[in-house]
Symmetry: C2
Subunit: 398 residues, 2 copies
């Protein structure tokens, strides 16, 4: 079986926009999506009606706000009618799966300009209800109905991983410490407070061994990117970013169905295909934005993407190599953990952050020096869906 | 702005499957989707792992059943991992928008075999809750929150249309009478009772002028089709059906935002593009499956698709031309009105019906004689999304 693309065009990102992630009490789902989309459109200096197709990632507009048909809503208010509007859903990977559809639309030669947005408005529901809604990303009948929530799922993974590979509670905390540090430098992050290992260890227990500071927040937010064929990119921007590859893979929806609780095979498949398609290897990656919904998820991602070998991620954290300035900066904007997790928007927001890093536009202290190649990684549920995208500077585009 | 596709391959349908639509009290969302998908796979004689990508249309898995991430669920249980799984949502047009993504995946030359499913499990919620969930397809903040439901929206359209074009209450009833008659011949239809104009006029008032028999039922069901490049279609089937074109367009999400309450511009745009792309005209169409969520919707569709001129649809019904055997058979399986409306599945189920008609496989009394070209038409919300697909017999495929 061959999942690789028979591409007709190179694909470039020619405009990006994002709202800050956080609690946007005064902005609706539609307003968030419009704000992000309009910044992307303004950046690329296009008219809305140049956009031929609009994809939007959104996980649970219905359950969070009552609003389905989200792509039509946003396309309408952006003034893009009659362009086709397509909402894509794959739980917390919704934004990146939407991005991949946009990538395919350009790579195939079918279109010359498409927009990919992602949006989620999560904070209008009460307390535990958001956690209940998010359990729609797991196997509802065989996991959620028996009472497990996502903190519980990832706690089981963490326990097993600590048992198999000797990861310590302190090492796990270092993921959060690093991401909060990066978040403190990012004006658009949801959580900007710096924390220590001790803060993590003293924070309230959520699902043993995971504590409050091991879990990402529930955020409102939106992001948008514009895609065009690489050979037309300079019409829109002086700093086009090339999409080297974008690959998606699936695995069992349930955690109990997995081959190995400590490995996300979907991540491994997607990464292997993304590296093959872009003719790059993990050693080429200058920085990565990975899916750290819980601290343990970042450990798995780092290994399953091939950025280090299995069971060796903790060492990178002990040596502080994943900080900006280290050998392999991870989650330079704070990741889901500190920059926030507006589920349908997150995959697109990761792309926006990678584009800004590759353009050299990140704020002081946050810029990865000389970054040429960045990777983004997004996970739906506990690993049923994974998407890996490799981006590179577009200097080679004439 | 050009929305037409730069195609690399012709696209053929090489296998179809569908569950009956109705109240499936003993089958879950997953079981319905599997049943339909497995029949399509069996029909094409493929192994599941030949499928390179799986698209699924589903409107509100979250609100109806708690389950989002529906594509990953179905892909997993079909044994297709690690193939990419993509859920597409566009309200009641979810299935047809998913179909269009599958069509694009093949037309672009990116893939050689993709599956497109559609599924909805709607009857597990209580009474009016389904109507509330469906209101997520309109502009929630500016329409639903003020109390209007879909029967109300379509009642406003019907009133305006009756005022503008002199449509009578009796003529409107004839749409339902014809669709129930067709449904009575279809063993997979949700409603199989024949009704008279008098039955419609005596049925309970839902939203003036619409009565119970003007409204489609709320159904459970699933459908699936397999797509391949036309020049490979004979590997899978002796009766491939060609997708001449598949076009999608958007309009305002709200009814109050429309240019004209009695015309769905999204249908007009999609139809005009679909005819242009397939180099066919409305006169070439032998039968049509159109979106008749309410009787008035079928009247609008018939006109906006160009199958007759504006304001003239009622005449076709007076002359009984839309019955099987008439000049222009419409909704040969009973349509949404009688065959049922499992919202995410409906757009795919329409394709399944059109394929069976073009293959000459419809049951006795239901077959459109000599059908060579069929059209399907799907609407999301009150007309924010429309998709038009033109199918033709694949005799020309070598």
């Amino acid at each position: 079986m061959n999942h690789s693309l028979n591409k007709r065009n190179g694909v470039a990102i020619v405009g990006v926009g994002a709202t800050p992630f956080g609690e946007h009490w005064r902005k609706s789902l539609r307003e968030l999506a419009l704000e992000a989309s309009l910044s992307a459109v303004a950046e690329a200096g296009i008219r809305g009606k140049d956009i031929q197709e609009f994809f939007i990632g959104n996980m649970s507009g219905g359950m969070f706000t009552g609003q389905e048909h989200v792509a039509a809503l946003v396309t309408d208010f952006l003034g893009l009618n009659p362009a086709p509007a397509i909402r894509v859903e794959a739980a917390c990977a919704s934004g990146s799966v939407a991005f991949r559809q946009g990538y395919v639309a350009i790579a195939s030669g079918l279109y010359n300009l498409v927009a990919v947005g992602g949006v989620e408005k999560m904070t209008d529901v009460q307390g535990g209800w958001a956690t209940a809604i998010l359990s729609g990303a797991m196997d509802t009948e065989w996991e959620a109905y028996f009472g497990v929530t996502f903190p519980g799922i990832y706690a089981m993974i963490a326990n097993r991983y600590m048992h198999e590979y000797g990861l310590t509670r302190e090492q796990l905390a270092k993921v959060a410490v690093k991401n909060h540090y990066h978040g403190s430098l990012n004006p658009n992050a949801h959580l900007r407070n710096r924390i220590t290992v001790e803060d993590v260890l003293k924070s309230p227990l959520v699902a043993d061994p995971l504590r409050l500071f091991d879990c990402c927040p529930i955020s409102d937010g939106a992001a948008c990117v514009l895609l065009a064929p690489a050979n037309e990119a300079r019409k829109y921007t002086d700093t086009p970013i090339l999409v080297g590859s974008c690959a998606q893979a699936s695995d069992t929806l349930s955690l109990f169905g997995r081959r190995d609780m400590c490995t996300l095979d979907a991540t491994r498949h997607a990464a292997s295909q993304a590296f093959e398609e872009s003719k790059l290897s993990p050693e080429d990656v200058d920085f990565a934005e990975v899916h750290d919904c819980f601290t343990i998820a970042e450990i798995l991602a780092t290994e399953d993407l091939g950025l280090c070998s299995k069971g060796r991620a903790a060492k990178l954290y002990d040596e502080e190599q994943t900080f900006i300035g280290g050998k392999l900066p991870i989650n330079t904007d704070g990741g889901l953990k500190a920059a926030g997790h507006a589920v349908g928007a997150t995959g697109v927001k990761q792309i926006v952050e990678a584009v800004r890093q590759l353009r050299g536009e990140a704020e002081k202290g946050r810029q990865v020096k000389g970054a040429e190649i960045g990777l983004t990684h997004s996970v739906g549920g506990s690993g049923a869906t994974a998407v890996v995208t490799i981006l590179r500077r577009g200097d080679s585009i004439p």
